[in-house]
């Protein structure tokens, strides 16, 4: 190799910029190595957690500094990408902690599970930092392929295998659409770098480039589960193992948004109305779908679709008025609140599912407040936050998103969005009513074992939801 190139690539700036990714990737390598030596299996958890901690530490180093570009500008690290990285770490940690002791039949493959989880997390970090269509694609696949495997991880269960397969087929489909879009974009503009698009913005107006952009948008919309690309979500979320669903709902969505935000300057401003319409339809489809569900995971899957729609509204606002700013902050804050809220909610469901030995339904939650007041209170808090009730992080996230839309003069869209959000309370409150106001489900088994780690994680999520809702000042001041 030319030493000059090696020096350019391996500079201090490169190491700083790609620190979080390197930490996770290194963790994966060590874990794979440990798999070969069963004697050292005890080190697995330490390596996993250490890798996450190192990634978080590396991310905080670039949290407040200036933007660092690496690998010829195809990858950057700045305050925003560092926040995203922290969020992915949190998401992986939540999924991992709630996943402890979840897999009974597959217990001996837990090492693989951790490797896949960590690989997916590294893919997310790569996606958030990429400023180049191909780097992003590498990240996307690094995320997606492990997730396909994870979705089908409970290979003894039909639903899990079905979810894995569905996700794989459709995901591959979306990946193909993405590559097609990237190829057309390259054909139209002669570049695949985001900076290049900015320089040749006049070429973006050509039909070839526009088609390419539309295809890329379609595949990203697939990842963040926006109408009409969301149909896989309920099936896959319900069928996948619950910890994986936790990770998918929070992390994947965040990673796709993390790239969509810097990419969106390339979309023509006229598309704002279309994006807003898609956002509203998505919110409606998600909330209406959730309204008639009885299975909790499926219900939260639809709710996640609605939340993706809400965040998309901020993106639409940014299109309509790029100067207004705040969209990136709104989405990041919204996603953070959603990660802890949905992560906590899915996590508690995982816990109940493990203890009850069967999927959790709304009916199955009846009278939970009397049997397990702590779990019911936390779940109620998460539902209120998902519904956007004040004093929770979910409320503030909604507030920020809708104010971006209002600032961009999309007042009608904001009003309709708020009204659609009200529908959501219909099913969130139904869950609280079931837990607090309905007679107990006598058939519910009494939990045999306590889960201190999961309980602590749920508590931490609840605390974060409240902190983001009550004392958001610090985050709002530092998140941009």
């Amino acid at each position: 190799m030319n030493p000059d190139i090696a020096q350019r690539i391996l500079s201090q700036a490169t190491l700083d910029a790609s620190g979080p990714f390197l930490a996770l990737a290194l963790g994966v390598l060590v874990l794979v190595f440990l798999e070969l030596l069963p004697a050292l299996a005890a080190l697995r958890q330490i390596v996993f957690l250490g890798s996450l901690a190192a990634a978080a530490w590396a991310a905080t180093r670039t949290l407040f500094g200036p933007e660092i570009a690496a690998f010829e500008g195809t990858y950057v690290a700045n305050s925003t990408t560092s926040w995203w990285a922290l969020l992915f770490v949190a998401s992986a940690l939540i999924a991992w902690i709630f996943g402890r002791r979840y897999y009974r039949d597959e217990a001996r493959f837990e090492g693989e599970h951790d490797i896949l989880l960590l690989t997916a997390a590294s893919g997310m970090v790569l996606m958030a930092g990429s400023r180049d269509l191909l780097v992003f694609f590498v990240g996307l696949e690094t995320l997606s392929v492990p997730l396909y495997a994870l979705s089908g991880f409970r290979r003894a269960r039909r639903e899990s295998v079905e979810a894995g397969l569905k996700y794989f087929v459709l995901g591959a489909f979306a990946a193909a659409i993405y590559l097609m879009g990237a190829a057309l974009l390259y054909a139209g503009t002669g570049t695949i770098a985001l900076a290049g698009f900015q320089e040749r913005s006049e070429l973006l107006e050509t039909p070839l480039a526009l088609t390419g952009l539309a295809l890329i948008a379609a595949s990203l919309f697939f990842k963040i589960s926006v109408f009409p690309f969301h149909l896989w979500v309920p099936d896959v979320y319900q069928g996948a193992p619950s910890p994986v669903t936790t990770f998918m709902a929070t992390g994947t969505k965040a990673a796709a948004f993390a790239f969509l935000l810097p990419l969106s300057f390339a979309l023509p401003p006229e598309s704002a109305g279309l994006v807003a319409a898609i956002a509203l339809i998505t919110m409606a489809a998600g909330n209406l779908g959730a309204l008639v569900q009885t299975d909790m995971k499926r219900l939260l899957a639809y709710s996640g679709v609605a939340h993706a729609g809400t965040m998309l509204l901020a993106l639409a606002g940014m299109h309509a008025d790029p100067e207004s700013g705040g969209a990136s902050q709104a989405v990041l804050f919204y996603m953070a609140a959603y990660t802890f809220t949905a992560g906590g909610a899915f996590g508690l469901l995982t816990m109940l599912e493990t203890q009850g030995g069967r999927p959790v339904t709304i009916d199955g939650l009846r009278g939970l407040a009397r049997q397990r007041p702590g779990v019911a209170a936390a779940l109620a808090l998460f539902m209120l936050s998902l519904g956007g009730i004040p004093a929770t992080g979910g409320f503030l996230g909604k507030y920020l998103v809708f104010s971006v839309a209002v600032r961009a003069d999309m007042i009608a869209a904001a009003v309709v969005g708020v009204l659609i959000s009200v529908v959501a309370l219909g099913y969130y409150l139904r869950i609280i009513v079931a837990m607090y106001m309905q007679p107990e489900d006598a058939t519910r088994p009494v939990p045999a074992e306590s889960r201190p780690l999961s309980s602590a994680m749920a508590l931490a999520c609840a605390a974060m939801v409240l902190v983001l809702g009550v004392l958001p000042g610090w985050f709002l001041a530092n998140v941009r």
């Binding site: 459709l170 088609t211 539309a214 379609a218 279309l274 209406l288 309204l291």
Partner: protein, 600 residues
């Protein structure tokens, strides 16, 4: 933070900490005794801070303010919370914490018979009250004052209804809440109007004269509720259902005076609105005279004192209406001392004879000499006998009213001064003189916990008047006791009232017009008017609204809900579970997006 600000924060936060502790540690509260210790310790700390604060200030020193932003909209601060320390708030803090401490110590003995849980609950409420009252007193703006105002209202509700198992107490608590809340709407609207017109909640705001009149009238509506002014006074006599120490603290000395305090605080605002001043003048005078008349025929010792409180608050409001904030504030201070003293002495009597009825008392001066002396000092002070505290403050008010509104309020209040001496003389004669009743025969003085606070409060009730000049200088007003015609008339009338009471009731007689007053009292005209308003207008209105809500709103809601659920089911239809259908949707979406991109 400067030292005065820190002391004020301590005065507010100590009871808050006690209240929080008692809420968060139910086990501690239910023990009873620890709750009392926590509450009294907090009050001691509060009193200490207040005293240090008040003594550390020299007269005429500028106000010390320490605020932190509370509500922010963008870069603009809508409201602040914090402390505002000047002569008025420092003096008021001392009065409030001193009386509160006396009452709480007294309560330890008075409430001894309570079950432990109730005992703890009682002191938890007291801690909440003191926190709220201090929050109100040190408020740097009208918004924080209103927050404290509502919280003392809550504490009042809880304490009136302390014996909630007793239907009359529960009713009285609800009534007090209802009446004061009705009045508080005035403050709420007033604050909104003030904010909209001036962009601030400061009492130094200067709105247009018309706006100032509207705002102050609205604020005064709240004052009428809290300070029991005619015709919103009806809750105060009923509030006597609460334990007697509560009546002494909340419904005589401090909470009901919060209304007067608000006007004193917001004096710059009220000065802009002479019309409001006239209204206050008349409302105060009428309340004073009306309540004094009703006090004359009460058979329950606490009800006499309750009407007397209404009447004295009427004096203060009239003084404020005449534009003399200092006269009102001075009377607030002296009244707090002697009325708390009277209530606690009455509590001591009630504790001894187990009855509120004057008929069950009598001849107590031999059995309870200390209480008799304390009550006597209170009576003389309230009556305005020269040399005692009430004399100075009341005469200052009367002097301020000279010539106002054609001398009519002046004459009314002068007449009230006579009536006051007369009904207080009556109470003293019936309770302490004459032959003891069956119950009173076995009465005896309680321990030091009860008599101590009486002694502590008796001192300022007697001599506080001599410090009027000092207080005036302290709060930045001027006051020179002068002995013109009005004080001469008033003190003659006061002495005459007492002598007349002794002559009439000492011989077991009754005044000729007592029957007429009694009929008026029994008729409860004001109560009835409110009831009528409530049962006819309000219930009718809520009936209509209820119908509208049930059939129109709920109907719409149900229709919406039904339609939404149907739509939800429709969404399900596309959810076939087949991968090829989902892929089709993805392709369709991608094609539509591309088409839009190319065609637009």
């Amino acid at each position: 933070m400067t030292t005065p600000a820190l002391l004020a924060v301590i005065a507010v936060c100590a009871p808050a900490a006690a209240a929080l502790l008692l809420v968060l540690a139910p086990a501690l509260r239910r023990q009873g005794a620890p709750a009392a210790v926590a509450c009294i310790a907090a009050s001691l700390a509060s009193l200490g801070a207040a005293l240090a604060l008040a003594l550390g200030r020299s007269p005429g020193e500028p106000a010390v303010r320490h605020v932190v932003p509370w509500l922010q909209a963008g870069s603009r601060t809508i409201a602040e919370v914090g402390v505002h320390v000047d002569g008025i708030s420092a003096a008021m803090l001392v009065v409030v914490t001193l009386v509160a401490l006396c009452v709480q110590v007294f309560s330890v003995a008075y409430m001894r018979g309570e079950a432990r849980r109730g005992f703890g609950r009682y002191f938890a409420y007291h801690a909440l009250f003191l926190f709220s009252m201090n929050l109100l007193v040190v408020a740097p703006n009208l918004l924080q004052l209103f927050v404290g105002w509502e919280l003392v209202g809550l504490a009042s509700y809880l304490l009136i209804g302390f014996y909630f198992a007793k239907p009359s107490a529960a009713r009285a608590a609800v009534k007090a809440f209802w009446m004061t809340k009705l009045a508080d709407m005035g403050i709420l609207v007033g604050l909104v109007v003030l904010f909209v017109s001036t962009g601030s909640f400061e009492w130094t705001a200067t709105p247009e004269p018309a706006v100032a009149t509207a705002v102050t009238l609205l604020l005064f509506l709240g004052v009428m509720g809290k300070s029991a002014q005619f015709p919103l006074h009806v809750w105060l006599p009923d509030a006597m259902e609460g334990p007697t120490p509560v009546s002494a603290l909340l419904h005589a000395a401090t909470m009901v005076a919060a209304g007067v305090f608000l006007v004193v605080r917001a004096h710059p605002l009220f000065e802009l609105a002479p019309t409001t001043g006239d209204v206050m003048l008349w409302v105060g005078a009428v309340t004073a005279a009306f309540a004094a008349g009703l006090a004359l025929v009460q058979t329950d010792i606490k009800k006499v004192l309750a009407y007397s409180t209404c009447s004295q608050l009427g004096y203060m409001v009239a003084a404020l209406g005449a534009g003399s904030a200092f006269a009102g504030f001075f009377h607030l201070g002296t009244h707090a001392c002697f009325k708390a003293l009277l209530f606690l002495a009455a509590g001591s009597v009630i504790h001894a004879v187990h009855s509120n009825e004057l008929a069950e008392m009598g001849g107590l001066r031999r059995r309870m000499p200390l209480t008799a002396v304390a009550f006597g000092i209170g009576v003389l002070s309230l009556a305005g006998v020269p040399g005692l505290a009430g004399f100075f403050s009341k005469d200052l008010i009367l002097t301020e009213l000279e010539g106002r509104a054609g001398w009519v309020p002046w004459a009314l209040l002068l007449l009230t001064a006579f009536a006051t001496a007369f009904y207080m003389g009556r109470v003293f004669v019936l309770a302490f003189l004459g032959a003891p009743s069956a119950r009173a025969g076995h009465a005896h003085e309680a321990g030091l916990a009860m008599t101590g606070p009486l002694i502590v409060l008796a001192v300022p009730s007697a001599v506080a008047g001599f410090f009027g000049g000092g207080l005036a200088a302290y709060v930045g007003a001027s006051y020179e006791p002068h002995f013109g015609l009005t004080p001469l008339l008033a003190s003659t009338l006061a002495l005459a009232g007492i002598v007349a009471a002794v002559l009439v009731y000492g011989r077991g007689r009754e005044v000729a017009f007592a029957d007429a007053l009694r009929r008026l009292d029994r008729a409860g005209a004001v109560d009835r008017a409110w009831k009528l308003l409530y049962s006819s207008a309000l219930l009718w209105l809520s009936g209509v609204l209820g119908w509208f809500d049930r059939y129109v709103i709920d109907g719409l809601m149900n229709a919406t809900g039904f339609a939404t659920l149907e739509a939800g089911s429709a969404v399900r239809v596309v959810q076939t579970g087949r991968v090829r259908d989902y892929a089709l949707a993805v392709v369709a979406g991608a094609i539509l997006l591309s088409l839009w991109g190319v065609l637009s």
